[in-house]
């Protein structure tokens, strides 16, 4: 046999795929793809025993959930699906109804003078209320406010909220703030 120049054997790459496969399977199994989503809310600063500010009755929109998850709006029984429209009516108050929220003219940067509603939502619940029911109500309230913002943005800037630039979004948010006050839970019959 003639002496050949010895070739360095090629590394077999056939098993490379298998190794990659193994790693893939590991990552597939350990992956949790769930994106965390939820309702954002800014809690109010804690102040030691402060007296509740006096707010005119017409400016409050009281939503009450008792321990059986029944709902009341301003003292009357209501359905969850009513909340959004009742809230919008309360904030907008187009006919200046003296039973709905009062509006005051304010100058908002980026919008100019605007008759902003002084209304505040007061969300009250019992210690025995289900978190799920509470979240349903929270969601409806936020939905109402978001719709108000969207409608106003469309009317003022001709675009929906999410298409506006940041300064405009801030201005619209100022015009329709998320004014939800959450009282300490109490025993509600």
């Amino acid at each position: 046999m003639a002496r050949k120049k010895r070739k360095f054997p090629q590394i077999a790459s056939a098993s490379l795929a298998d190794i990659a496969f193994l790693l893939i399977i590991f990552f597939i199994v350990s992956t949790t793809m769930d994106v965390d989503t939820g309702i954002y809310r800014l809690l109010p600063q804690w102040v030691d025993n402060v007296e509740a500010p006096k707010i005119n009755k017409r400016n409050t929109f009281v939503v009450l959930i008792n321990k059986n998850n029944d709902l009341q709006i301003n003292g009357e029984f209501a359905q969850i699906s009513d909340i959004k429209d009742r809230l919008k009516e309360f904030i907008l108050n187009p006919q200046d109804n003296p039973n709905l929220s009062e509006k005051k003219e304010e100058v908002i940067e980026g919008i100019g003078p605007f008759r902003r509603s002084q209304g505040i939502v007061s969300l009250q619940n019992d210690r025995g209320t289900d978190y799920g029911a509470y979240m349903l109500v929270q969601n409806e309230l936020v939905r109402g406010i978001n719709e108000l913002r969207d409608e106003y943005a469309a009317q003022r800037f001709g675009m929906k909220m999410n298409k506006l630039n940041e300064a405009q979004q801030e201005a619209v948010k100022k015009a329709f703030p998320t004014a939800i006050s959450e009282a300490e839970p109490q025993e509600i019959k």
């Binding site: 790459s13 056939a14 490379l16 795929a17 990659a20 496969f21 790693l23 893939i24 990552f27 597939i28 350990s30 992956t31 949790t32 793809m33 994106v35 965390d36 989503t37 939820g38 309702i39 954002y40 809310r41 800014l42 809690l43 109010p44 600063q45 804690w46 359905q79 969850i80 699906s81 619940n125 019992d126 210690r127 025995g128 209320t129 289900d130 978190y131 799920g132 509470y134 979240m135 349903l136 929270q138 969601n139 936020v142 939905r143 978001n146 959450e182 300490e184 839970p185």
Partner: protein
């Protein structure tokens, strides 16, 4: 490449090359590696049934989020703890009074720039009673962790009168 075939024999179908198979696998691998978030803590409560909502936003930076879990304990722990809703912080059961310490610890872990953006994600089961939730909220307010995210799942249909 010539059309002239000197052997005149049957043409063989060339074997499909598997040389690029590893590359494809690696591409998939990288995809999963990038999109993976390894579960950080073991849940000692039952996986909470999060409430549904439509007006939800995504939590953007996971490193700025700390979690509070609320729900009934897993089967292994029901013998000692019962089925009442419990709070879990990190890997352990906790009480409402532990929250302030936990928030302070999380606060310490982060840079000064990020501290203001720290968000608390409240992952609570929808069957939880509001009593415990309110206590948690009060503690968070006292701990000055005011940014809160009520964790919820996306619901596509609007609710109607039941």
């Amino acid at each position: 490449m010539s059309k002239f075939n000197p052997k005149g024999g049957k043409k063989e179908v060339p074997a499909i090359t598997t040389a690029s198979l590893p590359d494809i696998m690696f591409m998939l691998l990288f995809f999963f590696m990038v999109s993976t978030t390894l579960r950080e803590s073991e849940l000692k409560i039952k996986n909470p049934n999060l409430p549904f909502a439509t007006e939800i936003t995504k939590l953007e930076k996971k490193s700025l989020v700390c979690y509070i879990f609320v729900g009934s304990p897993r089967k292994e722990y029901t013998a000692t703890l019962g089925t009442e809703s419990r709070i879990q912080l990190d890997d352990n059961f906790a009480t409402v009074s532990d929250i302030r310490g936990y928030i302070a610890g999380e606060w310490e872990k982060r840079d000064e720039v990020d501290r203001q953006k720290m968000t608390v994600s409240l992952k609570a089961d929808e069957k939880t009673k509001m009593g415990i939730i309110t206590e948690i909220k009060t503690e968070l307010r006292k701990a000055e962790a005011l940014k809160i995210n009520y964790s919820a799942r996306k619901r596509l249909v609007e609710i109607r009168n039941n």
